[in-house]
Amino acid sequence: MPLVYAGVCSHAPGIRGRADQADPVARAGLYAAFDAMGDAIRQSGAEVLIVVAAEHFANFFMNNMPSFAIGMADFYDGPIEDATWLGIDNFRAPGHKDLSLRVITEVMQTVDVAYAEEWKFDHGIAVPLSFLTPDYDLPVIPVNINCQGPPLTPLPRAWALGEALRRAADAVPEKVALVGTGGISHWPATPDSGKINEAWDRDFLDRWCRNDKAQLLAYDDTTVYADAGQGGFEIRTFISVSAAAGGAAGTVHFYTPIPIFAVGCTTASYQLR
C-alpha cells in the first residue's frame, strides 16, 4: 500500500521528564499537537508505524556504530532511561518482525543498513510514542540514523534512506505510517541546554515544508554545529521523511520554543500524494 502518513515531531526528554517546569500554556499546546498527530496517524488507517529516530547511545556505541539501523523484533522495551527521570512508565511496544524483514530487504537494495533483533527504546522514540500510541497498540519498526557519534551519516545518505523506506512501504500490503523524530536547533545535555535558534528553525521548517531537496541537503555539519548546536545534527531524521514524502508539500502544525524542554517543539506532516 502507498505510504499513508509522513510526519515529524520533537522527542526531547524534558517534554515528559520536566513537564512540571514548563509554561503550562506552551506545554498544553504541544501536548494537544502531539495528540492531534496521533489522531491523524490512526485516521490514516496505519497498521504499522516506522519511527526514524536519532538515538543517544542507548543501543549503538562507537565500538560498532552503524550509519543506519532498523529493528527486526516482535517487541521493544523502554524506556532505557530511568522511568521516573523520563516521566514515562516502563513499557513494551509491539514490533512486527516479519514486516521488518521485508522492509529491510527492500531498503538494502539501495542503502546498507544494520538490523537489530533487540532494541531498547530511549527518549528518541519513547517520548513520541507516549503521545502517538499511548496504549502501545500499534506495531512499531524503529529506524536509527547516526546523528550522535562523528563521523555522522551524510545528509544525502539520509535522503537516500528516506527514498528507500518509501519504496519499501509502498511495496508491502500493510498500511505504513512514517514519523521522524528529533530536534531542530538545540544544545541538549550541555550547559547551554535550553538554547534554541528560532530563526534557524523556522528557515529549516520552511525548506522542509517546501520539500526542497537542494536546500535541505545544502547544510553542512560545521555550520549546523555553529548555528544549531550538536542537536541540530538530528535534522537527518526530518530530511529522511522529506525524501520519503516524494515531493509532497508539508505543514507545520505546531512550533514553539520551550526552553525547559530544550528544543523548539514541533509537529509537522506532509500531504502525501
Partner: protein, 136 residues
C-alpha cells in the same frame, strides 16, 4: 587520555541495572575493567560531573550518570558550567559551550513562565544510592 573508555563504561552502566548495582557498591573494582587514567577514575568515583564534561564525555551519556547519582537537572547543568569554569573548555568532542542566558531568562523573553530553579542535591558518596529503574 582514554575518553573512549570513559564513555564506554558509562554507556554500559546506563544500559545495565546489574552493573549499576555493582558499581554503586564498589566503584573502583568495577572501573578496574576499563582502561582509564587516574584522572578519569577519580572523576568517575567522585562523581565530578564538571570534570567529566571537561574531559569530553558526551552529555547524552553523562546526563544519565548524573541522574544515577540523584543529581537534579538544573544542578547537572550547573556542575558542567562549574567544570568549564574550573578546568577550562571541553578538551575534545562536539560539546562546545557557546553561552546561554539560561532557561528561566529565556522563557521570560518568550513570555513563558518557568518553574526551573537551580538546586544542589549533591552526592557526596555517602548517600545510599539505588540503581535506576529503567529496562534491563
Amino acid at each position: 587520555m582514554s575518553l573512549y573508555y570513559v564513555q564506554k563504561f558509562l554507556y554500559e552502566l546506563n544500559r545495565d541495572e546489574d552493573l549499576q548495582t555493582r558499581y554503586l557498591a564498589e566503584r573502583l573494582s568495577v572501573l578496574d575493567a576499563y582502561d582509564l587514567t587516574a584522572e578519569e577514575t577519580d572523576a568517575l568515583v567522585e562523581p565530578d560531573i564538571g570534570k567529566l564534561f571537561h574531559l569530553g564525555v558526551n552529555g547524552q551519556i553523562l546526563m544519565h550518570f548524573a541522574a544515577l547519582h540523584g543529581i537534579e537537572w538544573q544542578d547537572y547543568l550547573q556542575r558542567m558550567r562549574d567544570g568549564i569554569a574550573t578546568h577550562g573548555p571541553v578538551r575534545e568532542g562536539v560539546y562546545a559551550v557557546t553561552g546561554y542566558e539560561g532557561t528561566t531568562a529565556h522563557a521570560a523573553q518568550l513570555g513563558q513562565t518557568s518553574g526551573a530553579e537551580p538546586t544542589r542535591d549533591r552526592d557526596d558518596g555517602d548517600a545510599p544510592l539505588q540503581p535506576r529503574r529503567g529496562v534491563r
